[in-house]
């Protein structure tokens, strides 16, 4: 199985403080935000040499879709991904199994900050969220460019725990990845360590389409992802 690992320095991700604030609540900036931007400024300076961000994936073309049960088998492991994700992946010829992490050092820092300053802990946590998603965006962009040379398209990324894909299926997903792949492991209760890590599937194929998350159809009014939904286009 083809696999790739990427390592990023914080400085490579071109994250702005304003993006972190916007990602927190999706609203407009106002004068009170300067205080939070100043705290982030300090943290950005501390992170200028940080290079503990890792992400990677394996590619599998040993896949089988069960239209009736809305499941997908990857390397003989069956995943009950739910209706929404099944629709997005069913045209795939390959499934990419990925993981990405903001890294142990940054995650340990979050834990430490929360012990003494809940605001700073939250701001750094929000920053780490943006770090891991931005790193995975970069990986996905490189993946897309690589598959384009084979006339293949790439779907959005989908993770257990969202869109009705049971978080317990993380255990199966991690069986597809080499142990401690990118420094990420899974607890008994299906939580990743380091804590600011993501994992999931991406579909690759000639007839795959990239669709944004169907947040507008979701009924969860309080979901922060629905509130901060970003209409990216590719």
């Amino acid at each position: 199985m083809k696999s790739k690992i990427f390592n990023f320095a914080f400085s490579e991700l071109d994250i702005s403080k304003e993006n972190v604030i916007r990602a927190m609540h999706g609203g407009a900036m106002d004068e009170s935000h300067q205080f939070f931007l100043d705290i982030l400024e300090e943290e950005f300076l501390k992170l200028k040499d940080y290079d503990g961000i890792y992400g990677g994936y394996i590619e599998s073309d040993e896949i089988l879709f069960d239209v009736k049960n809305k499941t997908v088998k990857v390397q003989s492991l069956e995943f009950n991904v739910g209706n929404i994700i099944f629709k997005e992946l069913k045209q795939a010829e390959k499934i990419i199994v990925f993981t990405c992490t903001a890294g142990k050092q940054l995650c340990d820092q979050i834990k430490e900050e929360y012990k003494t300053d809940v605001l700073k802990g939250f701001l750094i946590e929000s920053l780490a969220n943006v770090v891991v998603e931005t790193a995975m965006d970069k990986i996905q962009d490189m993946m897309r460019a690589s598959y384009e040379t084979q006339s293949l398209l790439v779907s959005n990324r989908f993770s257990p725990g969202y869109c009705s894909w049971d978080v317990a299926e993380q255990h199966k997903l991690f069986k597809l990845l080499p142990e401690e792949f990118c420094g990420v492991s899974l607890s008994d209760s299906a939580l990743m360590q380091p804590i600011k890590s993501i994992s999931g599937f991406i579909g690759v194929g000639k007839n795959i389409t990239y669709n944004h998350y169907k947040c507008k159809f979701c009924t969860q009014k309080q979901c922060i992802y629905k509130k901060t939904y970003n209409e990216k286009t590719h």
């Binding site: 927190m24 609540h25 609203g27 004068e31 009170s32 300067q34 205080f35 939070f36 809940v118 605001l119 939250f122 701001l123 946590e125 257990p160 725990g161 969202y162 009705s164 894909w165 049971d166 978080v167 317990a168 607890s187 209760s189 299906a190 939580l191 804590i195 969860q220 009014k221 309080q222 979901c223 922060i224």
Partner: protein
Amino acid sequence: MEQELLQKLSECVELGKINKASPYPPQMKGEDGSDEITRTALDSGVSAESVLAALIVGMTIIGDKFSAGKVYVPNMLMAAKAMSASMAHLKPYFSSGEVKRKGTFVVGTVMGDLHDIGKNLVAMTVEGAGWEVVDLGVDVKAQKFIETIEKHPDCVVGLSALLTTTMGNMENIVKEIKTKYPAKAIIIGGAPLSQEFSDKIGASGYSSSPQGAVNLLNQLVA
């Protein structure tokens, strides 16, 4: 003078003005914060109960604004910090029993879920409303909740989950708690949840906001 002080204290909590040195919020730069005003109030004979009531007013206002989407998590956290600065002065009054806690609230994010900012906001708001809070953190199994209930038999339990796929764990935890403590009051909260789900799993109530959780708790002990 007392009313003025308490009103100012409520405003400091609402707006997150911790102390004089803090540059936040910008419109209160250089003014006394909840730290100084609480000290002044207590030193000038204002009762600790009155001070706590003023804190609750401030947290209620910011809590309602948060529920309405008018302020965001960082604003709530600053309000909580301002409240904590005041609470530090009130600690001796709680220890002596002069100010009574409304009860004990044991809260945690359920097993399999690591989301905690909502739970943390609830914990801070509930504490600001005069409750003792025991925060068990994230990924909390039923057994941990049960062990904590044994230490705090009169507590109300709060369960939090953000993933639709950990709602099942929440249901199991309620079942296990109710098996040992059938009359235990349990409230739930989190993005995918609802009153309907609360009813289904036998919980005592659901709230979509920190202030809503406070209102629920107060109703449960009334």
